[in-house]
């Protein structure tokens, strides 16, 4: 039971941290709960399908199917987060102004929301499929259903609780810095996911490592610990990264920062001079 709880906790934690950042980043957007909930639901269905076809995926592309699948899922998520980050840098100011003046939810950005729904779904799919395979194995080797259910419940509750803790922590960031902060978190998240994709491609020998272990900071923070694992998800921390991972990380971070700079909305002086405008003027997204 403890083993079940621990594995489920670690997998749920990874997805929950990603979902928390997405939830914070879509603060003030109407129907986001529906989109995030929908993403989780689709992700669970996806996890069952991926687990069901795990054998087929593993055999595909000369035995590199699993790595290629994971890398593709990660890179698709990177692209979608990237699109949202760039979109936010041109719409974030508007969003904050609306929240300050009207206080209600913004109806804009449903295309961006759909992308983030997909990011949530992909996160749940990746972590969830491992949980499904693990539980299948446990059940097949005769672990009692009762103990397993309790283990799953504890693991899910623990992981979700950590996600909520991060979410409510993020909400404490003052509104004028809020989307700048969530946008940067999304940049680091995307860069980390890209680095993870590179790791899979190196593992499958589809890409050279360009330095297998550039450094070893595991004595300082090990990826096997919970903090190390959380940092791995949030900022892509890897105690022993390969050169290729660094290249992917730096390339995605640089691309997104450039994208944000290029599309950043300039303060529109004099178009609608209201009291709220002057305060919104100072808000910089990216």
């Amino acid at each position: 039971m403890l083993g079940v709880a621990l594995l489920v906790f670690r997998e749920v934690l990874e997805a929950a941290l990603i979902i928390s950042i997405i939830a914070a980043a879509t603060r003030g957007v109407s129907r986001r709960g529906l989109f995030i909930g929908g993403g989780v639901g689709l992700g669970v269905i996806g996890a069952l399908l991926v687990a069901g076809f795990a054998g087929v995926i593993a055999e595909a592309v000369g035995g590199a199917g699993q790595e290629l699948f994971n890398a593709s899922v990660l890179l698709v998520a990177v692209a979608m987060i990237g699109w949202h980050v760039v979109w936010m840098s041109s719409h974030g100011r508007e969003l904050v102004r609306h929240m300050q003046t009207v206080g209600g939810a913004v109806k804009a950005g449903s295309s961006s929301l759909t992308l983030l729904l997909a990011v949530v779904a992909l996160a749940v799919l990746r972590e969830g499929s491992e949980v499904v395979l693990f539980l299948y194995g446990m059940a097949a080797s005769g672990t009692g259903a009762g103990g397993m259910a309790i283990g799953v419940a504890i693991g899910v509750a623990g992981g979700v609780a950590m996600g909520f803790a991060l979410y409510f922590g993020l909400l404490r960031i003052p509104l004028r810095y809020f989307f700048t902060a969530t946008n940067w978190m999304l940049v680091l998240l995307a860069a980390g996911l890209a680095s993870n994709a590179a790791r899979f491609l190196v593992q499958a020998d589809w890409l050279p490592a360009w330095g297998n272990q550039l450094w070893d900071s595991s004595s300082w923070l090990d990826n096997g610990t919970m903090v190390g694992q959380a940092m791995h998800v949030l900022i892509g921390y890897d105690a022993r990264p390969s050169g290729m991972q660094m290249v992917f990380y730096a390339a995605v971070a640089a691309l997104l920062v450039i994208g944000m700079r290029l599309t950043a909305s300039k303060p529109r002086g004099g178009s609608r001079p209201t009291a709220a405008d002057s305060s919104a003027e100072e808000i910089q997204v990216a």
Partner: protein, 109 residues
């Protein structure tokens, strides 16, 4: 520009797979949720191909945070993981789905 990157990527992939044929191969068997051998010896500064055979009827996940690899091994199947080159030392690996019994160490010398 796009075509250049595509060509560059394909070049890298070709380079990667071309060498793969000449790499030394090592084998690990998972049986009764444990690794055989539990201690695997490999040469230092050499990239190698690790074949993991799962003889159990349940899935396993071959994983190492110390040499940074992670792959699910389906029941009754063999999977390949490319490892290294690694410096001298010992690197733990484990079966993430059977943490209590599935533990081993890769000794690089």
């Amino acid at each position: 520009m796009k075509r250049f990157w595509l060509a560059a990527m394909l070049g890298l992939v070709a380079a990667g797979t071309a060498q793969a044929a000449d790499l030394p191969v090592y084998k690990l068997v998972i049986k009764n949720h444990a690794f055989q051998p539990a201690q695997l010896v490999a040469p230092a500064d050499t990239k190698f191909k690790l074949e993991v055979v799962n003889q159990d009827a349940t899935p396993s996940e071959f994983e190492s945070t110390e040499f940074n690899r992670e792959k699910i091994v389906m029941p009754g199947s063999t999977t390949t993981v490319f490892v290294g080159p690694l410096g001298k030392g010992s690197y733990k690996f484990f079966d993430d789905f059977h943490r209590d019994t599935g533990n081993g160490v890769l000794v690089v010398q």
